[in-house]
């Protein structure tokens, strides 16, 4: 059970872990962002980046970069990034890219949860922004409501394949993140109660991952 005052956000989940980047990862990220069939939809939007410049683009305006790796492999399957940090206003932006062959495995959700926990525990951010183009908003889960709040929309902003798509900015507030985590625990407990009452006792005993000093309202 983590000590509430010395709690360090875990970077290891059940299936994935967040680790520092190494130069040997760069070709993997370059392929992920430029060589896949749907790369035109992601960060560089189909623009080629010279190999000698690629690593610099990975770190431009970046506060935190973690490689997402499966527990059983050193090869990165994705990248999570916190960029554009503004400590005067306590805000930053986040992004995530998971290689196509590893999507729909639950890795993105777990990596995102580890990353957001890490950012809110390590920095005094009030909220984290994410930008999502209209073609990706529905499947990414940010448009579902609840934990993400739509804070802006640039209409017909992004051109792709003959269509100008809207570009949305969503915000993840610290307080809503904490509520989301608590709500998920409550719902899981309720499901287990439906399933088998005796299991709920053991679930109740699970440690709460966020200490009280980091709860909503404690850090501005």
């Amino acid at each position: 059970v983590p000590d509430s005052e010395a709690w360090v956000p875990p970077l290891h989940g059940r299936r994935v872990r967040l680790t520092s980047l190494t130069p040997s990862d760069y070709p993997v990220f370059s392929q992920m962002e430029q060589d896949y069939d749907d790369s035109v939809l992601y960060r560089h939007r189909g623009v080629s980046v010279p190999p000698e410049n690629f690593s610099e683009t990975l770190w431009r305006n970046v506060l935190v970069n973690f490689a997402v790796r499966r527990q059983d492999s050193p090869v990165p399957i994705g990248l999570v990034t916190c960029y554009g940090a503004d400590f005067r206003s306590d805000i930053a932006s986040i992004s995530m890219n998971i290689a196509p062959e590893w999507r729909r495995h639950g890795y993105a959700g777990e990596a995102g949860e580890l990353f957001v926990d890490y950012l809110f525990a390590s920095f005094p951010f009030r909220k984290l922004y994410g930008q999502v183009a209209g073609w990706a908003a529905a499947g990414s889960g940010v448009a579902r409501g609840g934990v993400f709040v739509e804070e802006g929309c640039l209409r017909e902003h992004e051109y792709h394949n003959g269509v100008y798509y809207d570009m949305y900015t969503y915000a993840l507030y610290r307080a809503q993140w904490e509520r989301h985590r608590a709500d998920r625990r409550r719902k899981t407990r309720a499901f287990i109660d439906h399933h088998r009452p005796m299991m709920s006792a053991s679930f109740e005993a699970q440690p709460q991952p966020i200490p009280s000093r980091l709860q909503a309202g404690q850090n501005g």
Binding site: R15, A108, E110, F191, H194
Partner: protein, 86 residues
Amino acid sequence: MADSQGDVMSIDQFVIAFCEFFSRDAATVDRTSRLVDDLAFDSIEYAELLILLDEIAGYTVPEEMLEALASVDDVYIAYCNYSAHS
């Protein structure tokens, strides 16, 4: 509502619990409902489903099985299988 069948919920009970967990209207969901096409499941909900199955199984279930889950009925079968091995 049907009675529980041994250690697992009946499909009717499961649909209700499933809808409570994923915040869907149980009146519009049945065992044939497709996760993506009918319930608009997204990547975050797939991750939540996996964690839920972990909790039921009591261990980390293989994530590759998510690819086989297309409908509520598929999820129910997975639930029954993992309950049996928990």
